[in-house]
Symmetry: C2
Subunit: 215 residues, 2 copies
């Protein structure tokens, strides 16, 4: 089943939210949902939801709506959640440790297997049951183990180097927590979590609200 339409970036960014809401519905024992009702819950228009869903052809039924389980499975497919992914964390500081222990994605098939950090106090220890290795062992580790995703949680200055090292090891996906925009070939997928950026946007909106109140 090929994709009916191209899935635009705007739609891709909404897919995780769809997946999440459909999961919630399942938990609540709801098996059937209309675009109208789903839109109300998610804060989207019914029209947009139908447009989005039609991009990958998961189809509903006129007069009925969508089967929750079916639609969720279909979106999972599109997102690539049919398989599992092994991940390693570069940088075992606060953020690296937190991400390594974060369990919000384990049940989606993402599994962290090791951390890498140059700190000799950490090398050889375990964090959340996962071994910490020297960055020099990365390429050896990648040869011996399957590594699908590299998580960059190093200080800013080490981020690009870490990224290059991962790519040299054949890792084609980077989840970046450092506040830098990494330079990578097109064949490498990068997803950035620029924490301070989201905080600055929050400051902007906060300030805007305050001004609005004074008017």
């Amino acid at each position: 089943m090929g994709q009916a339409h191209k899935i635009s970036d705007a739609i891709v960014k909404r897919l995780p939210a769809y997946y999440r809401y459909l999961g919630d519905l399942q938990t609540q024992g709801i098996t059937r949902i209309s675009s109208k009702e789903l839109g109300a819950r998610m804060g989207l228009t019914a029209s947009q939801i139908r447009q989005d869903i039609n991009c990958f052809g998961g189809f509903g039924q006129q007069g009925y709506g969508y089967h929750v389980a079916e639609l969720k499975a279909c979106i999972g497919d599109v997102l690539g959640l049919v398989r599992t992914y092994n991940m390693v964390v570069l940088g075992a500081g606060h953020m690296g440790q937190a991400v390594a222990q974060y369990d919000g994605f384990r049940h989606h098939g993402f599994c962290t297997t090791a951390l890498f950090d140059p700190d000799t106090n950490l090398i050889g220890t375990k964090i959340a049951g996962l071994p910490v290795y020297s960055p020099q062992e990365l390429s050896h580790y990648c040869r011996e183990n399957t590594v699908n995703i590299g998580i960059i949680a190093t200080p800013m200055h080490a981020a690009q180097t870490s990224c290059d090292a991962l790519i040299a090891c054949g890792v084609y996906a980077i989840w970046n927590f450092a506040p830098v925009d990494l330079v990578t070939p097109d064949s490498v997928a990068v997803s950035n979590v620029h924490l301070s950026d989201t905080l600055l946007v929050l400051a902007y909106h906060m300030q805007k609200n305050l001004h609005a109140e004074l008017e």
Copy 2:
């Protein structure tokens, strides 16, 4: 100085990146930048950069470009970085602790002052030098101290309750790390960090790249 044009959401989301890149330029000792050069660095078109900047009227000079320091200060103004913000963290788990200790925004004027967690093993201790209190003490704490931003790093099921508690205490900005879309009045600014969402988007792109290679 009023805003020339309305600043759209799309532009607001780019402002932190502008701010970041301009800071980098300053560090490199570069005092002057053209929209063309800045665009090349940031991966935007020169045209877009000029459009963006003209929204808030920070103006350049024909034939010269923009003063880096001036433009950066102007964007800082727009973002509301002229003042400081006090923050408290709700939920002292891995993520809460990591965020409390994250220093990527301290120099922008954001200061974390306390954590709140129901875990009696944590209450009364210090994390990164910051006190951990019981959530029941939140309203008292907010009366005695200025709290501008509430950070939600609780488990999913406690997120909405925590959010409500913060709002009841007069906190008008929420930085949310729980994988839920919070329900709030319009006067409250919310910024979400949905970690797993960004990971799922990464999985999608990774998978898409793999397919592209096979063709």
